[in-house]
Symmetry: C2
Amino acid sequence: MPAPRANYHHGDLPNALVRTALRLIGRGGIAALSLREVAKRAGVSASAVYRHYADKEALLAAVAAEGFGRLNAAFVAALAAAPRQPRARLVALGQAYAAFALGHPEQYRLMFGNGRTDSRDERLVAEARQSFRHLEEAVAATLGRAADEPAVIAGAVAAWSLVHGYAMLRLDGRLDDLPPDRVPDISRVLDRLVTG
Amino acid sequence: MPAPRANYHHGDLPNALVRTALRLIGRGGIAALSLREVAKRAGVSASAVYRHYADKEALLAAVAAEGFGRLNAAFVAALAAAPRQPRARLVALGQAYAAFALGHPEQYRLMFGNGRTDSRDERLVAEARQSFRHLEEAVAATLGRAADEPAVIAGAVAAWSLVHGYAMLRLDGRLDDLPPDRVPDISRVLDRLVTG
DNA sequence: GCCGAATGTGAACGATGTCAACATAGGACT
DNA sequence: AGTCCTATGTTGACATCGTTCACATTCGGC
């Protein structure tokens, strides 16, 4: 539904492009996404995109930033619903993380895995940093230490690594060889880290 | 050095293409790699590639397979040099894994992260499976259980997730925000998993 | 109502992955 | 040795892609 618009001007092209890109990515994956297709679906010529994004990569960075925004929202929601016990809260974060990654595979892959972050996009940098801060706080609470202590940083990196690696392996189908009833879910994997 | 060849036939084009692709990837990254460039550097026309690989993705799958082969060789070497104690051997595997990933960033990214494995490449599938088996065995020895028990599978998945996630986060520059002296190295992260 | 800035258009360029038609080399069989 | 089949390589073409340039339209402030 390219939705022919009446006006010469679009109204909110930047957001419309991000939403369109997101929809197309969900259909055909990242590799199959073309700038021209996004523009056409948004009812606009290809070159119009360049009024709002420096290039294709910048548009994808905006999609990634939106993803980190949603991830952070999911974190906040998970923490609100979680019990008070620090360890349980950390596990809740990990579960929310994995649920997001497995629920939005292509966007998640855009947020990671496509080479380095596009540091031109300030929102992307800020939202990504915020995600890490959520993790750090939960680890700090679990260990009962200040957030900037080396042990806390190491713990947060370990937790992030575990959950990110698990998500990536599953998204890439790397665990599909396992008997389906043997693929451990994220809780089981998290237990290995949080407990001994 | 496109090395003009005397003969009409090349001799060992398939391997030459993989080696050339690997070299170019090391220079400019995966995204910048073009089939035509690989062919030119190998001293051959672009369409000659299609006599040996179904398409660009198939060639990249061959490069990935070669990577898994090298990873497995690194595993074997690490195990040969490691002490007898099961836990130390598991850590040695993790270190060898991280060293490979950080030492060959682009090839590692090709082995993972570019969507699902190209299952048309049998060698790729076999080598990847072998990598996981190494891990499984080390985890089984550490836990003192049989390799196909659910607890061992869960442990192997957890170990792989941790080390793969760590490598990916570092490759994507996601840990570059941290004060440089605070970026935990792989041993420190592994400790969190292997000990309590 | 005028005018500059913001936003959108269309045509064009070079590069890319892929394919079809053709050329050549090399080995098997006589 | 000569013949033919097949594997391998080449040339030229096509559609598509990201990107740019010159131009058109609209909007907001004066």
